[in-house]
Structure formats: structure tokens, C-alpha cells
């Protein structure tokens, strides 16, 4: 009996001594486990699959980098990559437009809160719905039909035009993104340092120079965040493309995200290895931004500590 008593005593003291050290791991366990299984491991697994020839059912064959070599000669891959670049460039417009809207709405008139939230509306709605709205908008027998007739473009369907389909989708995609940037800047404008602005005004700074020298530097955190979410949003263009064109006509509006899905999972065949190689390229592009973001956060963490 005394022995077992001693044992419990010792165990509780062991727990007491190590509680501080062990508790964080106990709290981290479920989240970390799920994240490792569903996010971290799949990344490495995908990179490995990109070295295989595999249809998902029959045994996989190791083929080295031949999937990547095939990519170099794949016309559709280049089209998709170029379209990703177009998305990235034009999506960036959401940042200044969002800033402009935020400045325009940063007033206190009757009902302004409701107006701001109505401006924000498109962001809350699913991209699937936005995609449906716009494809029906662009339909020449649909909403803009009468307008097209007036400007002499009867029956013009932008989504069926090889040269412009991508721009049609980007235009739809940028709509909610502007709303997001706007809300980021509205928060930024709300937290401006009033003293600095007044001091600037005393010194005679007005209009553009006030904006450039005093306002914009203070909005830096909002700008940083707006750029980060816009870049990521532009590379996640899957939903819009899937709804509006499915990459067509003739692959002309494809993006890497959708092209990957199409090669790996659609009726065009189950080429898991090749699809993974496309995903790996997309991942590498994104990794630059992720590392940049992490570096920024690391800097501010070091300052905070």
C-alpha cells in the first residue's frame, strides 16, 4: 500500500514539474495531426506523384522528370500559364480601385454604414453565383444583348471569343476582389493618425501631396494585406473558370488551377502524374509569395519579442 501511494505522489509531481512543457503539445496535438495529414503530407506526396505515370488505379510507374519535360512542350500549359499571368496583372487593379472606393465612401452621411456594406456585398456571395451572374450577363441573347445591338456588336459573346474569354472571366473575378480591398482600406482609413494629417495640412500639404506623403505611408499595412490576398485570389481562379468557360473555347481561357483538375480528374483522362506536375508548378509560383509573406511576419514577430 505505501508503495502505490508513493507512486501516485511521484507521478503527480512529475506532471507538476513538466506541466508547463507538456501542455502546449497536448493542445497542439489534434490541430497539428489533422494539418500534417491533410495539408503538409499531401504537398510532398503530390511532388512525388509528379514523378509517376499513374491513372489512379493500375500500379504507378516511376518516370522521373518526364512529366515536366512533357510540360515544356505542352501548348495548353503555356496558354494556361500566360492566362495566370493575365489574371495576376489585371487582378492587381483591384487594389487601387478598392482604395479609390474606400476614399470615396469614407464620409459620414446618413445611411453610409448600410451603403458600405452593400458595396461589400459581392464578396460575401459565392464565386459560383458571381460566375453564373456574369455568364448570363455576357450571353448575347441575355442581358447585355440590347446594349450590344446598339453599339453594333450584335450576337457578340465574349466567353466564346478565343482572344477575349479570359478577360471576360477576369472582369467577373475582380468584382468581389475590389470589395475585399475596399473593406481593408476602409479599416485602414478609419485608423489613420489624425494628428499627423492635421500637422500636414498646417504645413500646407493638400490633395495629392498630402495623400502621397502622409496618407499612403500610413495605409501600408492595409496595402500589404490587400496585395497578399489579391495575389492569392488571382492564383485561385478555379471557381470562375469552371463555371464560366471550363477553360474553353479550345483551352484559350484555361488557367493552371483548372488545367490541373482537367488532366487529373475529368473525362480527358486520369493523368495523376501529369496533373501533379502542373500543380507543382503552380505551387512553386505561390511559394514565392508565401515565403515573402512569412518573411514579413517573421520580421514583425522579432520586433514584437
Amino acid at each position: 500500500m505505501p508503495n502505490s501511494n508513493q507512486f501516485t505522489y511521484r507521478r503527480s509531481s512529475w506532471w507538476k514539474r513538466n506541466q508547463q512543457r507538456l501542455t502546449p503539445w497536448i493542445f497542439l496535438f489534434p490541430g497539428l495531426l489533422l494539418f500534417l495529414v491533410y495539408v503538409i503530407w499531401p504537398i510532398f506526396n503530390s511532388l512525388y506523384i509528379s514523378l509517376l505515370q499513374w491513372d489512379g488505379l493500375s500500379p504507378a510507374i516511376y518516370v522521373g522528370i518526364s512529366n515536366y519535360i512533357e510540360l515544356l512542350d505542352d501548348e495548353y500549359f503555356y496558354i494556361s500559364l500566360m492566362n495566370n499571368l493575365k489574371w495576376l496583372i489585371f487582378f492587381m487593379l483591384a487594389v487601387p480601385i478598392g482604395l479609390g472606393l474606400a476614399i470615396f465612401l469614407n464620409q459620414t452621411i446618413f445611411g453610409i454604414r448600410l451603403i458600405k456594406s452593400l458595396f461589400f456585398f459581392p464578396f460575401v456571395i459565392s464565386q459560383v453565383v458571381i460566375g453564373i451572374i456574369f455568364s448570363w450577363f455576357y450571353n448575347p441573347r441575355g442581358v447585355i444583348g440590347p446594349f450590344l445591338d446598339k453599339i453594333g456588336l450584335s450576337n457578340y459573346a465574349i466567353l466564346a471569343d478565343e482572344n477575349f474569354a479570359t478577360y471576360g472571366i477576369i472582369f467577373a473575378g475582380i468584382y468581389p476582389q475590389i470589395a475585399y480591398c475596399m473593406i481593408l482600406y476602409l479599416t485602414g482609413l478609419n485608423n489613420l493618425n489624425t494628428d499627423q494629417i492635421e500637422a500636414g495640412r498646417m504645413d500646407g500639404a493638400k490633395g495629392l501631396s498630402l495623400f502621397k506623403n502622409i496618407i499612403l505611408p500610413q495605409l501600408k499595412p492595409a496595402t500589404f494585406l490587400a496585395i497578399v490576398v489579391t495575389v492569392i485570389g488571382s492564383l485561385r481562379s478555379f471557381d470562375m473558370v469552371a463555371i464560366m468557360t471550363q477553360g474553353g473555347p479550345y483551352g484559350s481561357s484555361n488557367v493552371l488551377a483548372y488545367y490541373m483538375f482537367e488532366t487529373a480528374l475529368s473525362e480527358y483522362g486520369y493523368r495523376m502524374g501529369y496533373g501533379s506536375a502542373i500543380a507543382a508548378v503552380l505551387f512553386t509560383i505561390m511559394m514565392f509569395y508565401i515565403l515573402f509573406f512569412i518573411y514579413r511576419m517573421y520580421q514583425s514577430e522579432k520586433k514584437g519579442l
Binding site: 506523384i49 489512379g56 464620409q107 456594406s117 452593400l118 451572374i133 448570363w136 492595409a222 463555371i243
Partner: protein, 283 residues
């Protein structure tokens, strides 16, 4: 205040501003107004090409009824709730714990784990697609709500941890120290001090995750095949294929898909925006 408050401007500016705001709002919302207008029209208007004039009949309820009768829309909506609500509960609970662990304990791997969560959160979905689909298959959870929820919880843990960790980090540390000196166990510090104090963050996170998951389309396409488990986003997409010309029904369906997140947004606006703009006002 920037720009200069409109009240301090000459009368003409004030008047034109007050006119300009509703006009620009109207232009901004044209796409959404268009779909609302279409959802109340009848087939007659659609085939006659009457898209912008007054609807000749008011058929919103007929259209909604027709959508429910002729399509599995009701199942889709229920599925969306079955997917979204457990995900919100799961992701928020787990990230309260991870956020607490990373915010209030010093250990070697702390920052590394934190940055792993952040980095994973930004990864393109496609790099996860094939292994996650395989894994779900092997667990026998392909084409089930559970399989989709498990993945969503895991993935959202990244963003939620970032959010909760920063929130808890901003709480005064003395609070925890004082409790520790009083002999409170670490678990009780979490349950009795941290959880009550993080309520605003929990609210903000819940609305955000609700919207993200409700609007998810990609993972629903990858992990779900049949109508029995399909959420409304994927359901709408399949209807989109079938109903090329019946825009009034498609519009009614789209509105149904949009209503829950919109209500959520209006009810919890403050929290929603606080969550989205985290970090937009400080360096």
C-alpha cells in the same frame, strides 16, 4: 480624417456627393440587381428578351417552388448546412487550442509550427487534391459529408490558428501569470480565462469560416460525386449545365445559395469585418 469631411465642403459638393453615392451604388450592384429581377420573371419575359423592363408577372414564389419541385435544391441546401456547421465548430474549437498553445508558451518549435500553419493556409488547392482524394477514398469517406468536413476542418485550422494565436497573444500575459501563481492548472487557465476572453475572436472566426465553407466549390467537386452529399455551390453548377435558357429558375437558385451567407454577414457585420481586416490597421 481623410478625405476632408464632406460637411466642411461647399454646398454644391455636398449635394453632388449625396447624389453620386446612390448612383454609384446602383451601378456597382447592377449585376446583383439583374439576377434579382430575373428571379421574379416568368418564362414569357425571358423568351421575349425582356431583361431590364418591368417584369410582366411577379413569379418569385412560383419560381422558387418550381426549383424545389424539379431539382434536388432542398437536399443541396441541407447538405450545405451539414457540411458548414460541423466545420465551423471543429475548426474553431481546434484552433482555440492551437492558438492558445502557440500564443502563451515558449518552446523551441513554436515559431516554426506557427509559420507552418500560415504557409499551409496559402498553398494552392491543386497541390493537395490528388493525395487528399486518395486518402478520403482509403478511409471509405469519398462522396460523404464526413469526408469533406474532415478535410475542411484540417485546412481551415491553418487560418484559424493564425487568427486565434494573434488574438490571444494580444491579451495581457499577467492574467495567466497571476492564475499560475494561484495554482490554477494550465487546463483551467485555458477553460476559465482564455476561452471567455476570446469570445469576440470566436464570433468573428465563426462567421468567416461559415462564409468560406458555404461558398466552397472546389473541394465539393473533388470529394463529392452524388446528390445525396452535394452542397449548393456544386449543385448550382450542375443545374447551370442543364438549364441553359431557363435563367429565371437559375436566378432563383442562385439567390437561395446567396441568402445564408448574406444573412450571416448582416447579423454579424462587425465581427465579420473585424475578422477579414485583421492586420489592416497595424504594422
Amino acid at each position: 480624417m481623410f478625405p476632408i469631411p464632406i460637411q466642411k465642403r461647399p454646398l454644391i459638393n455636398r449635394v453632388s456627393y449625396k447624389l453620386l453615392v446612390p448612383v454609384s451604388l446602383f451601378i456597382w450592384l447592377i449585376p446583383l440587381l439583374g439576377i434579382m429581377l430575373t428571379s421574379i420573371r416568368g418564362l414569357g419575359d425571358i423568351t421575349a428578351g425582356n431583361y431590364w423592363g418591368m417584369p410582366s408577372e411577379f413569379l418569385l414564389f412560383t419560381n422558387i417552388k418550381e426549383v424545389f419541385q424539379n431539382t434536388p435544391m432542398l437536399t443541396y441546401i441541407i447538405n450545405s448546412f451539414k457540411i458548414t456547421i460541423p466545420t465551423v465548430i471543429g475548426a474553431v474549437t481546434i484552433s482555440c487550442m492551437t492558438g492558445f498553445a502557440l500564443a502563451s508558451y515558449k518552446f523551441k518549435a513554436n515559431l516554426f509550427i506557427f509559420f507552418t500553419f500560415i504557409a499551409g493556409n496559402f498553398v494552392p488547392f491543386q497541390i493537395l487534391m490528388i493525395p487528399v482524394r486518395d486518402l478520403t477514398f482509403q478511409m471509405g469517406l469519398y462522396d460523404t459529408v464526413t469526408g469533406l468536413v474532415l478535410f475542411h476542418v484540417a485546412f481551415q485550422t491553418g487560418f484559424c490558428t493564425l487568427f486565434m494565436r494573434n488574438f490571444i497573444k494580444a491579451l495581457p500575459n499577467e492574467l495567466f501569470e497571476a492564475a499560475r501563481i494561484d495554482g490554477t492548472s494550465e487546463f483551467n487557465i485555458f477553460l476559465k480565462i482564455v476561452v471567455p476572453l476570446t469570445r469576440p475572436a470566436i464570433a468573428a472566426l465563426s462567421v468567416l469560416i461559415f462564409t468560406f465553407i458555404w461558398n466552397d466549390f472546389f473541394w465539393a467537386t473533388v470529394l463529392i460525386q452524388g446528390q445525396h452529399a452535394m452542397p449548393i455551390t456544386a449543385g448550382l453548377k450542375s443545374l447551370n449545365g442543364q438549364w441553359v435558357t431557363v435563367y429565371h429558375l437559375l436566378s432563383a437558385g442562385s439567390i437561395m445559395a446567396a441568402v445564408p451567407p448574406v444573412i450571416m454577414f448582416f447579423l454579424m457585420q462587425k465581427h465579420f469585418i473585424a475578422g477579414l481586416t485583421l492586420g489592416a490597421s497595424k504594422g
